[in-house]
């Protein structure tokens, strides 16, 4: 799979559980080594870095984790947690308090929270502290791996708006991983739909959500409950996503696809451009539009 993230832009990645969303995130921040492929930041490859160069790279790409109850050390106060990030940046201890206060203000938390421990904070507050900790090293990209999935809807909206504000002010790029399509539609400029470790559809948020092409994308969008579409026939998916270690032959989606034909069983479809920027990996869709020549995938 391949995708590009521009500065100040948000790329959304969607897919079912087990489709490899979190693996992508972990490979990007190099918590796990990817089995293949490259990650480039600002044009320079950053895969397989070691020692000091890895540490320097890590400051440029930060991550906000899914579980706000596990991503902060329960034995560290908020100011210690953010202070740790500031130390990594090389800021002397004497300037920590002022910076911590500034970062807490940045994520709209009261300064009094600095001395608290995570068990004294709500889920939303914890996630804001995580965001402040990520911001502390001035990253160029923040990966949000289901960062709002564990939050109440009202608080989720607050955190999403906060993330948008921060992007507006600092120009940070987000890689936003979520299974929740309405969250992605709200946040993302571009969207990639993943199925078993591969992108099956890619395009601007507008294109993908208003004109989904791949049967899998259509099924995902149809699965979002809606008040206005009551009674309409839905495209339903049956079965489970396959084991990523042993994907089906041909198009990995063919066993569940209502439109699958013989070719889908044998030939893996490539991700080809069909619209302005929209790309789809599906034989049926591509035949309907006559296959365009193979192009490199860039955003």
């Amino acid at each position: 799979m391949s995708f590009t993230l521009q500065p100040g832009e948000t790329l959304g990645i969607a897919g079912e559980s087990g489709s490899g969303k979190s693996s992508v995130a972990r490979a990007l921040v190099q918590l796990t080594r990817p089995t293949g492929g490259t990650v480039s930041l600002g044009g320079a490859p950053v895969t397989n870095l070691k020692g000091q160069r890895l540490k320097r790279f890590r400051r440029r790409m930060q991550m906000v984790y899914q579980d706000p109850y596990d991503s902060l050390d329960p034995r560290m106060s908020v100011s210690d947690a953010i202070g740790e990030a500031l130390s990594v940046r090389g800021l002397p201890k004497t300037e920590h308090a002022a910076q911590v206060a500034q970062l807490l203000e940045r994520v709209k938390l009261p300064a009094t929270i600095a001395q608290r421990h995570p068990n004294q904070l709500s889920g939303g507050q914890r996630q804001r502290v995580s965001i402040a900790r990520a911001l502390a090293v001035n990253p160029e990209i923040i990966i949000c791996d289901e960062a709002v999935a564990a939050l109440d809807v009202s608080i989720r909206a607050q955190v999403l708006n906060l993330l948008k504000d921060i992007q507006h002010d600092t120009g940070v790029g987000y890689l936003f991983i979520s299974h929740d399509l309405s969250t992605l539609r709200f946040m993302a400029d571009h969207v990639a739909i993943m199925y078993v470790g591969r992108i099956v559809e890619y395009g601007t948020s507008e294109e993908v959500f208003s004109n989904p092409q791949h049967p899998y994308t259509r099924a995902l969008i149809a699965a979002v409950p809606s008040v206005t579409r009551r009674g309409e026939r839905r495209l339903k998916l049956s079965g489970e996503p396959p084991d990523p270690g042993n994907p089906p032959s041909g198009c990995p989606f063919h066993p569940r696809c209502p439109e699958a034909v013989e070719t889908c069983r044998t030939e893996r479809p490539e991700l080809l451009t069909i619209g302005d920027a929209q790309k789809v990996a599906c034989h049926v869709v591509q035949w309907g539009r006559e296959k365009t020549p193979k192009t490199e995938v860039t955003a």
Binding site: D70, L72, P74, V88, S122, Q125, Q158, R185, S226, R229
Partner: protein
């Protein structure tokens, strides 16, 4: 054909996020739990009493533990039974049993605490390194641990003392060398699970160094385990020391130690039972107190490990 709701989310209401989840202070919780657990309370009281007695032994003991009293033996040369002068009687050499018991507490506590401290240090270092580094390092360290663990602990100590020669220092070293394995195994298991938690990943992605991650994010989470195993370890160490002294290879004579007193007392069991009963009861109570205190600490710290603030 397919429509999603408009791509905006409106904040329906601004929920107050500043609710503080009240968590009772740890020490207050510990105190309350102790008050409701008379067994644990007695255990801690006994340990405290023992510590005071051991520390201030020269002030508390009625006599010099090594002094052989001329009136400490009967006309036929037998030990004197407990009386107003010698509260717990005298031993076969005419020495005051109570004074020897009090000075013996010093040896027991010293050996118990120092040996356990040393064992904890070795165990935590080896367990943490094995768990955190993994791979070949882990295999080598843990196979070595298993090897030490597979010896019968007392036999192992006897063999080591036979080589190093009996002295208080050697007793401490030998016990530490036998006991660290238990902690190393438990610590390794804990480190394996802690290092997979998100806050450790978060520290790694920030670029925090390994040493600092271990010091700031891993060791603090091991403290409850170390305290519990330490308490139980003191009991075990005291028992091993007593066993070694009983066998005559522990703390060298004529220094008083409970094990040595029991060993000597058993020869006069029928004529002078107080020689056996006094150190025996002291030993049983001490080991029991440390074990019960350890159990209580396990219960107190176990469910709190995850959420305990400081």
């Amino acid at each position: 054909m397919i429509n999603l709701p408009e791509n905006e989310l409106t904040v329906a209401f601004s929920a107050s996020e500043t609710t503080v989840l009240s968590q009772p202070n740890f020490w207050r919780r510990a105190g309350r739990s102790l008050l409701h657990d008379p067994v644990a309370l007695c255990s801690f009281a006994f340990i405290l009493l023992l510590t005071v007695v051991a520390v201030f032994a020269p002030l508390i003991a009625p006599y010099d533990p090594l002094r052989q009293f001329s009136n400490g033996l009967s006309f036929v040369g037998a030990p004197v039974a407990p009386n107003g002068h010698f509260l717990l009687g005298t031993d076969a050499s005419g020495r005051d049993v109570l004074s020897r018991l009090i000075f013996g507490a010093r040896v027991s506590l010293l050996v118990g605490v120092v040996a356990t401290g040393l064992a904890s240090l070795i165990g935590v270092v080896i367990g943490t390194v094995a768990g955190y580094v993994g791979g070949v390092t882990e295999s080598i360290l843990m196979r070595f641990t298993d090897m030490v663990l597979s010896f019968p602990i007392l036999l192992f100590c006897v063999a080591l003392i036979a080589v190093t020669g009996p002295s208080t220092r050697n007793v401490v070293l030998v016990i530490a060398f036998a006991y660290w394995t238990y902690l190393a195994r438990v610590v390794r298991g804990q480190v394996l699970s802690i290092k997979e938690r998100e806050f450790v990943n978060a520290a790694r992605t920030l670029g925090v160094g390994h040493i600092k991650i271990i010091r700031k994010h891993i060791i603090p989470h091991l403290i409850p385990t170390i305290i519990v195993y330490g308490t139980l370890g003191v009991a075990t160490s005291i028992l091993i020391e007593a066993s070694l002294s009983f066998l005559g290879i522990g703390v060298p004579l004529p220094q008083a130690s409970w094990g040595e007193m029991i060993s000597e007392g058993q020869q006069y069991f029928q004529s002078a039972p107080w020689l056996l009963v006094a150190p025996g009861v002291a030993l049983i109570l001490t080991v029991l107190a440390f074990n019960l205190a350890g159990d209580w600490l396990t219960d107190l710290l176990d469910p709190a490990v995850q959420e305990m603030g400081s």
